[in-house]
Assembly symmetry: C2
Homo-oligomer: 536 residues x 2
């Protein structure tokens, strides 16, 4: 490794131009770019190297004493890091919501990092502030479709916020429930409000035992983090069973009433607009009715599915989302923006004021500093990536992307249904589906077996799926994830399933066929397969 | 604006290569790069254009229907956005903690965005997971300096976390206090712990009225956000007065005892390692004693000052930081990493387990997925930027940067002291200082005037500073921020001051002289100056 000079002069040059000559930076950059493009264009998801081996390269806890040349460091990054990262661009990486990005984000990322704006305040972001507000406005319009006067009034208002841009869906969900909590337990005569006086005082003042947040068992784990962090407590996350993958309005109403009648207050119902595990959408319009009847906040976690609103063909699936008090959307999911672009949107632009903060040197009263109503402080200019994507794709571009993903999921579901040894567990509403591998004879057996036998077989099948998923992942050619779900066929117990997210537009029918074939081949070599086929 | 084609074929190409020919992307990128470098190399901070004018360009709330060519969109970004952003690279931008970045972050940002890893789980990040753990380990070592066996045991342990990487200091502070809260009100016989049962139940179980967090009035506003979000309440942030800019241990002990004796429990003392407004460092070692005596958590917010530990000359100023239970450090401040790189570090690697979460499809029990103990969910590979910076600068490189910043601040303080019409308000401990403009005769008058007269003069001087700061900012050549502070000379009332952060290594003595000269010229044209000089 080249040891670079330790001198102020050398350091100054690092801030302005490369070590040796002006073209050095360009060379390093070209080398890095070629290498990344080469890596990303491979059809392989990841090398077979074990994590424990990779850890050896990252085990020194000491900060190196001496500087290293950028060029030699770049080489070591390529060897140790890039070569052992995950090719999320591979068309056969269909296990998570992270996927290929359009190429234009690469030069844009340089622009963003190069400008190094801080969006917490106008003094370090200027034009980025109105840009971020416009992005929030566009997403607000996409969901709520208010009239021009509304947006003229609120888009750039110092006293209002149409939403909060943040690093991701988890912070967006926390922000939304924080706003809901502070609004529900706000100041009134004799009480300064929960923001000032805290949750215990608020419960005493309002005479409630507990606040609760309701969702289905498919609600994202960030909701559990949120109720923990916000002081509500994880036991007060009422996650109702949902063998059909969606929250039943009548169950929600019944459970909500029972909860309220026990001296508690239901803070919010969270409808999911595209569950992380299966892509199902809760019946939002009916849940909005339930929230209204129970007098609570209605939040929709559309981190994944929100982008479906771009599609005129499929947006009806989110009917009722426009009645939500707050909404979470991640641009780094189906909007194909790099990681780090979450948004909480608020129907009523006044609501974010319940979490408004001030400081003497920034966020002063009346300022348009974005940091006054966000959970995070300093933030980068990621909103630009969303802005650019909205313009470069346009609504119709996004519509095509959404439509083809859903179409592809249907095609894959058909392939699974046609294959005698696979069993579709949840059909796609959006571009997610789950299935498992199950020898044809066992499928027949399951239909007539008694509960005990069904459970016994399912346990073997669970192990089979776990095994196949692991072996396929380790082989590195493709990646499908797994999870455990209740299903309409097996409501009493959960079953382990393969989980597929068809986000990458470049994933072909051929890729999907190859993935199924690989799973089938792997399965046949397992103990579980032998066991199942010998137990007849 | 060019309207691009809406076709799947076109869209597929956006994911793989540019619209017209292979070299088009390279051309656009070159054009953007040239333009950014041109913008950043100007000595101007920002154009004079008013924010309200810029807002006109960002006022459409509708998502455009049709796609736009990348090339024409890039042009429009340059015109509307880049041209009106803030040149944080300018050597005369000395008002905030955001500064120039070393050039190597530009190609690295392409690498990061190009790979689009998601660090919430190994399945979407692989080598990035051990890398992030190593970065946390290196920073932990820098602060706590545990032995090799310690790091061998914990660095890559699935059941431990040396820290939590996050988007910034605010989330780091919230994370640290969240951990402190869940640990203080943890499970015991007959109680499931605050994480499960919530804050109100925890107060009842532990028989306390309130939890409190103590800091000085110079504590960062994120602490106020933290106690709000965590349900503790902003009134329970005991922000003690500190006319000398640091928290006095005897005041802390006294206030802490009084608080505990009133049926409350002090959750944490927060020492600041470099306040945002003046760069002062609380007496950390003595505050650690106080925390020990009061039996509470000790958190050090070293978002700014933590990097001082790289300097053998100045690290003694943070003595006692190694006794903190948790520490906040922002790499995007004095470590010159792009925005979005905060860290909470934990002395005891067991502690993060009090906020551990699991899910069925990721973060499974026993996994090394980083998301199990972070507040955020999906996160990008920003840890790579810190990793690379630690290697490319080395400890000695950072030491030089830190040393020269502090040296420069001393030089600037001397300039201010020598100038008859400026008054230094807080001398630099690190690379921050505050001062104000005050005609020489008024300085003399203030020394002998009675309180009423002092207050009257200070009010005019406050307006003068506000005015000069605003006019200088609007002129766009340089940027100094302002805040309000108590000072040893005026302990009863706050005064408005210029605030300077000397982060940019390229800021020269000449730049500083020019900034003072500009302020002096601007001041002489103000009403306040006339008023002060005629009132003798």
């Amino acid at each position: 490794m080249g040891e670079a000079q330790v001198s102020l002069r050398h350091l100054y040059r690092v801030f302005t131009k490369p070590e040796h000559q002006d073209s050095k930076l360009a060379q390093i950059e070209q080398h890095l770019s070629d290498n990344i493009l080469d890596f990303l264009s491979q059809h392989v998801v990841t090398k077979k190297t074990l994590l424990e081996e990779i850890e050896q390269d990252f085990s020194d806890s000491r900060v190196p004493e001496s500087p290293e040349f950028v060029s030699s460091h770049a080489e070591s990054l390529l060897d140790k890091l890039v070569a052992h990262s995950v090719n999320t661009y591979s068309p056969t990486f269909i296990g998570h919501m992270t996927s290929a990005l359009p190429y234009f984000h690469l030069p844009l990322s340089k622009l963003m990092v190069g400008l190094n704006q801080n969006l917490v305040k106008i003094e370090t972001s200027k034009a980025f502030t109105p840009l971020e507000r416009q992005v929030l406005g566009m997403m607000h319009h996409l969901v709520y479709n208010e009239d021009d006067i509304f947006y003229q009034r609120y888009l750039h208002s110092a006293r209002h916020a149409l939403g909060a841009f943040c690093s991701g869906g988890t912070v967006a969900n926390i922000t939304a429930l924080w706003v809901a909590r502070n609004k529900a337990l706000g100041p009134e005569k004799g009480f300064g409000g929960v923001a000032k006086e805290g949750l215990a005082s608020a419960y005493r003042h309002y005479g409630i035992n507990n606040l609760g947040v309701m969702c289905s068992k498919r609600g994202h784990y960030s909701l559990s983090k949120a109720v923990d962090a916000l002081g509500i407590g994880r036991q007060q996350l009422l996650a109702l069973p949902c063998p059909t993958q969606t929250l039943k309005p009548e169950d929600a109403l019944k459970a909500g009433k029972a909860y309220q009648e026990s001296g508690n207050r239901l803070l919010a119902i969270v409808g999911v607009g595209g569950t992380t595990e299966t892509g199902h959408i809760d019946p939002l319009d009916e849940l909005a009715d339930v929230a209204k009847e129970l007098g609570c906040w209605f939040h929709v976690d559309a981190a994944w599915g929100g982008a479906t609103l771009f599609s005129n063909k499929h947006r009806h699936k989110l009917k009722g989302i426009e009645r939500a008090d707050s909404i979470t959307i991640d641009a780094h999911k189906q909007m194909y923006v790099p990681m780090g672009a979450g948004m909480a949107l608020f129907k009523d632009p006044e609501n974010a004021n319940v979490v408004r903060h001030h400081a003497q040197y920034i966020l002063r009263e009346g300022s348009k500093d974005l940091g006054a109503t966000t959970l995070e402080g300093s933030r980068n200019g990621m909103a630009m990536m969303v802005y650019s994507s909205l313009h470069i794709f346009g609504r119709r571009g996004y519509e095509l992307l959404i439509d083809q993903s859903i179409e592809k999921a249907k095609t894959f579901a058909e392939m699974i249904n046609r294959h005698p040894d696979f069993e579709l567990i949840t059909a796609p509403t959006l571009s997610l589906l789950t299935y498992r591998i199950c020898p044809r004879d066992i499928q027949t057996q399951l239909q007539s077996a008694d509960t005990e036998k069904v459970n016994e077989l399912n346990q073997v099948l669970d192990r089979l799926v776990v095994n196949v998923q692991k072996l396929q992942r380790e082989a590195g050619k493709s990646f499908v994830s797994r999870t455990r779900l209740e299903s309409p066929d097996y409501p009493a117990n959960s079953v382990t399933v393969f989980r597929v997210v068809l986000a990458n537009p470049l994933t072909s029918r051929h890729d999907l066929q190859a993935i199924l074939a690989e799973q089938h081949t792997i399965a046949q070599k397992t103990q579980e397969w032998q066991h199942l086929n010998s137990s007849e």
